[in-house]
């Protein structure tokens, strides 16, 4: 046994007096700072005062504890024994055998009960997942394949105004919605007026979709669904600010850079007799990011 005069029992501090003073001082500082925090809170001082007083108080309080524990305790080191986790095979065999034989006797003599208990439990186990499947939310069905855009939908601004051909300046863009879903997250569509006038054909088969220099694309990015909100007029490119996919407007919003794998869906437009821009029909493909049941190979 080691005597108490061994160096293991000396305090860790080189100069215990100074350590004592440091601990005392830090507790005193924390006392002042806590009081100041109370005052600051009482008079509803600014966030900085509240945080500074609380922060200094807590830090000084904590430092006091740490310094006390670190410098003014017997410095050790001390040791304690540790039992290894590895268990002898016989010890395990004993308990396993006991567990198994008790259970075997209890169940085998009453096998009908066990069977019924298992059946009841199994039924509940299956039934218990019903709420997850039936009440958390509707089944997707066709919801991801369609939007609120219909044949004849007016292109409507967020202020509920129908957009006419004179409302967008040349080279400008506007976010539009169908009139019955203004502000809708999924029907948001970006309307672009190109420099060219006349009908814009982005792809064969879309000869009438871009009347008078207007083109409209779903604003939901085909990568991760962010709004494709930035338009560079010079290069006629749409940029998604989330992951920097770029789409070439003139080529039917084909992705030309970044992770987006598919073009933005194009909305076929027409100009009605009063000069309002309207949809010929809804989008002809699911908008936005992909999903397992999407199919198609656009």
């Amino acid at each position: 046994m080691i005597g108490l005069d061994a160096p293991q029992f000396e305090v860790a501090a080189r100069n215990p007096r100074r350590a004592e003073k440091a601990v005392l001082l830090s507790f005193f500082i924390s006392l002042l700072a806590f009081a100041a925090f109370g005052g600051a809170f009482w008079v509803n001082a600014s966030n900085m005062w509240l945080g500074a007083t609380l922060g200094v108080g807590m830090s000084a309080f904590g430092y006091g504890f740490v310094a006390w524990g670190k410098y003014l305790m017997p410095r050790g080191p001390f040791e304690e024994p540790r039992a290894l986790m590895t268990v002898e095979q016989e010890e395990r065999d004993l308990i396993v055998a006991d567990f198994a034989s008790r259970g075997r006797v209890a169940i085998k003599r009453r096998s009908m009960l066990a069977l019924m208990m298992g059946a009841a439990g199994a039924v509940f186990g299956v039934v218990a997942i019903f709420p997850l499947l039936r009440s958390l939310g509707p089944v997707p069905k066709n919801a991801l394949n369609t939007t609120k855009w219909r044949k004849g939908s007016y292109l409507t601004t967020v202020d509920n105004e129908h957009v006419s051909v004179n409302d967008v300046e040349v080279g400008g863009i506007l976010t539009v919605f169908p009139q019955d879903d203004v502000g809708g997250a999924l029907s948001q569509t970006v309307l672009i007026r190109l420099q060219q006038s006349g009908d814009i054909v982005t792809e064969p088969g879309r000869e009438t979709w871009g009347p008078n220099g207007f083109l409209a694309f779903s604003k939901v990015c085909t990568h991760a669904g962010c709004p494709v909100g930035l338009y560079e007029e010079l290069t006629q490119q749409l940029l998604c600010p989330c992951h920097q996919s770029m789409f070439d407007v003139r080529a039917g919003a084909q992705p030309i850079f970044g992770p987006a794998p598919r073009p933005l869906a194009q909305l076929p437009l027409y100009v009605d007799s009063s000069g309002y821009l309207r949809a010929q029909k809804g989008f002809d493909e699911p908008i936005g990011p992909g999903f397992w049941y999407r199919g198609g190979t656009t």
Binding site: P7, Q8, F9, V11, A13, R14, N47, L50, G51, G55, A60, G62, Y63, F65, V66, G69, K70, Y71, L72, M73, P74, G76, P77, F78, E79, E80, P81, R82, M85, T86, L132, L133, G137, P138, L144, V158, G184, A185, L186, K219, H223, A224, G225, C226, P227, G229, P241, C242, H243, Q244, F257, G258, P259, A260, P261, P289, G290, F291, W292, Y293
Partner: protein, 503 residues
């Protein structure tokens, strides 16, 4: 009074039986064992500040007209969630401080878990018998990241709203069940009206409860196994060397709790975080420039950016682009983390029980692999700032993106070989990594010189001393001894003379 109370309880719970054993529990002194404590205490700060916030936060997506004191938002239609968060910020006394402390503590929580995990990995502390605790720890990391994301989403501001939209797309991208998962979590197609309510209850109740339970298991197993320790004088597989729980360790660790609280309070006071009043409320068709998630989601965001625009198309079905970087990558990552103790044991054939830690240099392959894999995620993290970097460096986005695609393959390979080489070099350098002891040279009056090794920093484990079996010590007398006045006045030169026989 206290004696009687203790007696009353003790006679009902028999606390005294085995109590001394608990008081004597040994905690090793190495600094790297403190990182887990940071995680634990930032979690306590999270609970405390989080409870404060629940008193004022309204988890609802319903729109209200903002009529508070913050002028730029006056008259705007915002969700109740956003409205109440703004009120916490500007109207509730101490609200902004609590919000910012909560957010900072969350960042520190996840960060310290990651660093703690790296420490455990590189020192081989995950080996038998601690594989289960390693997996519990990995689960805690996943839960911490998830809950961080949910909490970040609750204020319903423009930046977090965009994050939720991305989360919906990620869920949607899972083959077979993705659309169902997304619809069931959000209560229908995006955006739905239930997501704030659901995110809220998951964030404040469900995940914290699971974290608490797993923390209990994590610490319970730690007590059962007792701490690992580095090789040092007197340290063996069948003992633990360090400071006893009471009073030395308790003082230090309690101090640590307050220090962490103090540091988060100072951060909350002086370093602005998540200023949602500047971001504005979430409006689905609006988006701001330079959208970045909290740091612990950065690697996922970066992976989403650097992933080439590939998708798999099958008849009638598809595997969307987002699946690969945001479902497959984290899935593989965490599977590897969970299985690592077993993978390593398979390769090394070492299935023995270990309580003494490895120095990273002594396991060069593990260390190099760990560094390489970590550098991969670090590059991905950097890639979440492609737009900011392009702007800052005035180069094209294209160049930055392509560079990152190259870097995420090149950097891990380089790091692997460099780390491997450094390990070998360190092995060949005697005393590398050990604290160097300075010599203090004093000149005597006669003009002679004398050199003596300076004192070690106080409080560090002293390799020159033999550990004392704690159960043999009358600790009270030891403490009395330790509080005695020093007999000789301590020299101010800072030289601590180690008695010759222990040198």
């Amino acid at each position: 009074m206290i004696d009687q109370l203790y007696e009353w309880i003790d006679n009902r719970l028999a606390i005294s039986r085995g109590g001394r054993h608990l008081l004597n529990k040994i905690f090793p002194d190495h600094w790297s064992f403190m990182i887990g404590e940071i995680a634990l205490y930032s979690f306590i700060v999270l609970l405390a500040t989080g409870i404060f916030l629940t008193f004022y936060f309204v988890p609802s997506s319903h729109d209200v007209i903002y009529s508070g004191s913050y002028a730029p938002l006056k008259g705007q239609s915002v969700s109740e969630a956003y409205n109440s968060t703004i009120n916490i910020t500007f109207a509730v006394r101490g609200g902004l401080l609590m919000r910012q402390m909560h957010h900072w503590a969350a960042n520190i929580f996840v960060g310290s878990i990651v660093v703690h995990m790296l420490r455990v990995f590189f020192t081989g502390a995950f080996r038998r018998p601690r594989e289960i605790n390693w997996m519990v720890g990995a689960t805690l990391l996943i839960l911490a990241i998830f809950n961080g994301f949910l909490g970040y989403s609750l204020p319903d501001d423009l930046v977090s709203g965009t994050g939720i939209r991305i989360a919906f797309s990620i869920l949607e991208s899972v083959p077979f069940v993705g659309t169902y998962l997304a619809f069931f979590l959000f209560g229908g197609n995006y955006p739905g009206t239930s997501l704030i309510v659901r995110f809220y209850i998951i964030h404040v109740l469900i995940i914290p409860l699971i974290i608490l339970a797993l923390l209990g298991a994590h610490l319970g197993m730690l007590v059962r196994h007792k701490h690992t320790q580095f090789r040092a004088r007197g340290a063996r597989e069948d003992n633990v060397v360090g400071t006893p729980m009471w009073p030395g360790f308790v003082a230090k660790t309690t101090g640590f709790l307050f220090l962490i609280t103090g540091i988060t309070a100072l951060l909350g006071a002086f370093v602005q975080i998540n200023p949602i009043w500047i971001y504005g409320p979430y409006i689905p068709y609006k988006v701001s420039y330079a959208v970045q998630p909290d740091w612990y989601m950065g690697w996922l965001d970066g992976a989403l950016r650097v992933m080439p625009s590939w998708e798999i198309h099958l008849p009638g079905h598809m595997v969307p682009n987002a699946f690969f970087p945001s479902v497959l990558l984290p899935g593989v990552t965490f599977t590897l983390i969970y299985l690592w103790p077993f993978i390593e044991a398979m390769f090394t054939g070492d299935r023995a029980e270990h309580h003494l830690l490895d120095r990273p240099r002594d396991r060069p392959l593990r260390t190099a692999l760990g560094c390489a894999v970590f550098s991969f995620y670090f590059v991905l993290f950097g890639a979440s700032a492609t737009d900011v970097l392009a702007n800052y460096l005035s180069v094209t986005l294209n160049l930055v993106l392509v560079s990152f695609r190259v870097l995420c393959i090149a950097v891990p390979i380089i790091v692997f070989f460099v780390a491997y080489k450094i390990c070998l070099e360190l092995q060949g350098t005697p005393g590398a990594g050990q604290r160097k002891v300075h010599n203090v040279v004093t000149r005597s009056e006669g003009g002679g010189y004398e050199a003596a090794p300076a004192a070690q920093y106080p409080g560090y484990a002293h390799p020159e001393l033999e550990p004392v079996p704690v159960d043999d010590v009358d600790f009270v007398s030891a403490l009395v001894e330790a509080t005695k006045e020093p007999e000789a006045p301590v020299e101010s030169s800072g030289v601590y003379r180690i008695p010759r026989e222990y040198r």
